[in-house]
């Protein structure tokens, strides 16, 4: 019996020839990412235990992003503490304001993600980086402290669910629709504790950025990680973003999967996740009129350049609906600069949207676009939990950048295909 890509990466990093699901392994970690919310408790823990030095400063990447630029005095103090710590620890990979952005956009863009690596961060959407064939998972602050101290971390080797996505996507249907449809089918705990391995002709056709959207939301099905076997697109992306050496690791043909889910998306139409669960997904044709107060385009799920291009194409020459506001949040400084160079900002501003600096911002109810009680937001983000973007009495609807953009034109949730 062969092994999955996840089992192979975990075996290699724990000094074993083979590992089996359920086994606890102590695993060498290649890259540790630290952001503003979960890192300060890890720093405190290390201090409490008298640990003076991190295991290896070069394996650490620090990217404050949640409340950046600092939203208040308390969050300013947190980032100040991380800044001091990073300096003391001689951590050079620090993405401070000016190079800032959402950590999961910066990590692959700046070349820290390559196939076969193990990557952890104190953030649940760390599963994003499986799109490049790495084992990448979210952890807590104690895990973070332990890994920063030792360069290692414990894992239970997960079972793997193989999700085979076949068919051909219709125009106006994107990877966001595909992952929401998968979550609708299996539920928000359908992949609990498991690795989700995505393959099939639709995945092959997707750009690397679109694949990131898929893996990013593995956690919304409860998954430990999302992963896609590397192909030529992965190699091209990695070679143009990273100078690191890497080894291509792939699943064996006779690997053992706990479940195989086959889905044909040829007839899939744009979908929306209704409040308050990402699995509460409806085809857009079945949604009654829902007025929106805000349209939000951004986040680690859908704030990359191709997302902004899709939106700009739809919004060009149009005007925003009266009573609706739109916020565009390029996910990183590089994406911001690229969008600016391409003239996308002129389109957004003429439309009546506003452009934000890169931040996690309102996606998690931090700042820069918080919702009041009773307000509704159509959002390209990943969670629509109660109170996620502000008041516990507000509502978040999740959709692709195209759905967000078309909805901003009409002030209600609509099918974007008529604008394409």
């Amino acid at each position: 019996m062969g092994s999955t890509i996840t089992e192979k990466i975990l075996a290699k990093h724990s000094g074993k020839t083979k590992v089996n699901p359920g086994e606890i392994v102590n695993c060498k970690i290649d890259t540790i990412m630290c952001h503003d919310v979960t890192t300060t408790p890890a720093i405190d823990l290390m201090e409490k235990y008298g640990i003076k030095k991190v295991h290896n400063p070069d394996q650490i990447v620090v990217i404050p992003d949640h409340f950046v630029p600092n939203k208040d005095i308390k969050s300013a103090e947190m980032v100040a503490k991380i800044r001091r710590w990073a300096k003391e620890q001689k951590i050079e990979n620090f993405y401070d304001l000016g190079r800032h952005g959402v950590c999961h956009a910066i990590l692959p863009e700046q070349g820290y993600v390559t196939p076969g690596k193990t990557i952890i961060a104190g953030d649940s959407h760390t599963c994003t980086h499986g799109a490049l064939g790495a084992f990448s998972t979210g952890i807590g602050s104690t895990d973070l402290a332990s890994a920063l101290t030792t360069g290692e971390l414990w894992f239970k080797v997960p079972e793997t669910i193989l999700i085979q996505v076949d068919g051909k996507l219709q125009k106006g249907v994107y990877s966001k629709d595909v992952i929401l449809e998968i979550i609708r089918r299996i539920g928000v705990d359908g992949a609990l504790y498991k690795a989700m391995e995505f393959k099939g002709e639709v995945i092959d056709e997707l750009s690397v950025e679109s694949r990131m959207t898929i893996c990013n939301m593995a956690i919304e099905a409860g998954g430990k990680s999302g992963i896609i076997n590397p192909d030529q697109k992965t190699i091209d992306y990695v070679n143009s973003h990273s100078t690191e050496k890497y080894e291509i690791i792939k699943s064996d043909d006779d690997a053992n999967y706990s479940e195989i889910i086959k889905i044909d998306v040829s007839n899939l139409e744009p979908v929306v996740a209704m409040p308050h669960l990402p699995s509460n997904v409806k085809p857009i044709s079945e949604i009654d009129e829902i007025r929106v107060d805000q349209a939000y385009l951004g986040s680690c799920t859908n704030g990359r350049i191709e997302d902004l291009r899709v939106s700009a194409k739809i919004l060009k020459g149009k005007k925003i609906a009266s009573g609706t506001r739109m916020i565009v949040v390029p996910a990183s400084t590089e994406i911001w600069k690229q969008a600016n160079r391409e003239g996308l900002f002129d389109i957004f501003m003429e439309f009546g949207a506003t452009i934000s600096t890169p931040t996690c911002g309102a996606c998690l109810g931090g700042h820069m676009g918080i919702l009041a009680a009773g307000e509704k937001c159509i959002s390209s983000t990943n969670r629509n939990f109660v109170g996620r973007m502000g008041s516990p009495k507000s509502e978040v609807y999740l959709g692709s950048p195209a759905v967000v953009s078309a909805s901003a034109i009409e002030g209600k949730i609509v099918d974007p295909r008529k604008y394409l």
Partner: protein, 163 residues
């Protein structure tokens, strides 16, 4: 270990509900504790007493990786969380803190608010003293038990590594 139950039957209670992101600009347990469970039960912090148990449904603690959820509960006085099933990162975070989290099928159907519960890790039993019932829970893995006995991951790792 003995305490009063606070039952939240709904599946998928997420860490945004346990501790909303608007309070994540601090990481001190006592501060977080003031807002524990705020978006699901505003009155929780007034009811909870030191030693109490939370009883949850399926996929308890899903969503964000914020360990602040564990600290908010612990800071509020909670000593044990029993759920039908835990979301992965929340469960890790509990063990890594030496905080007792056990999985027990149908527990949220069997226990009512304010029932007095007693847990015995070694026998794998939860006693409901109010209803005079005993429930068996999924035994902890050896590794999980070792983490709990060590008082959390940092103690465990430093003992092993002798750093």
């Amino acid at each position: 270990m003995k305490g009063k139950a606070h039952v939240y039957k709904r599946a998928h209670i997420n860490t945004d509900e346990i501790i909303p992101a608007r309070y994540l600009n601090v990481d001190k347990e006592a501060e977080l504790a003031k807002h524990a469970m705020e978006d699901i039960d505003k009155d929780f912090v007034n009811k909870v007493q030191v030693g109490d148990f939370i009883v949850g449904g399926a996929d308890f603690g899903c969503g964000s990786s914020r360990e602040h959820a564990v600290w908010a509960l612990r800071g509020a006085g909670v000593r044990v969380v029993i759920a039908e099933k835990f979301a992965r990162i929340f469960y890790r975070n509990c063990l890594n803190n030496g905080f007792i989290a056990v999985e027990c099928k149908e527990i949220s159907e069997k226990v009512d608010d304010a029932d007095e519960l007693e847990i015995e890790i070694s026998t794998g039993e939860i006693k409901n003293n109010t209803k005079n019932e005993v429930y068996k829970f999924e035994p902890l893995s050896d590794f999980a038990e070792e983490l709990l006995n060590s008082g959390g991951l940092m103690n465990y790792v430093l003992k092993k590594k002798r750093i």
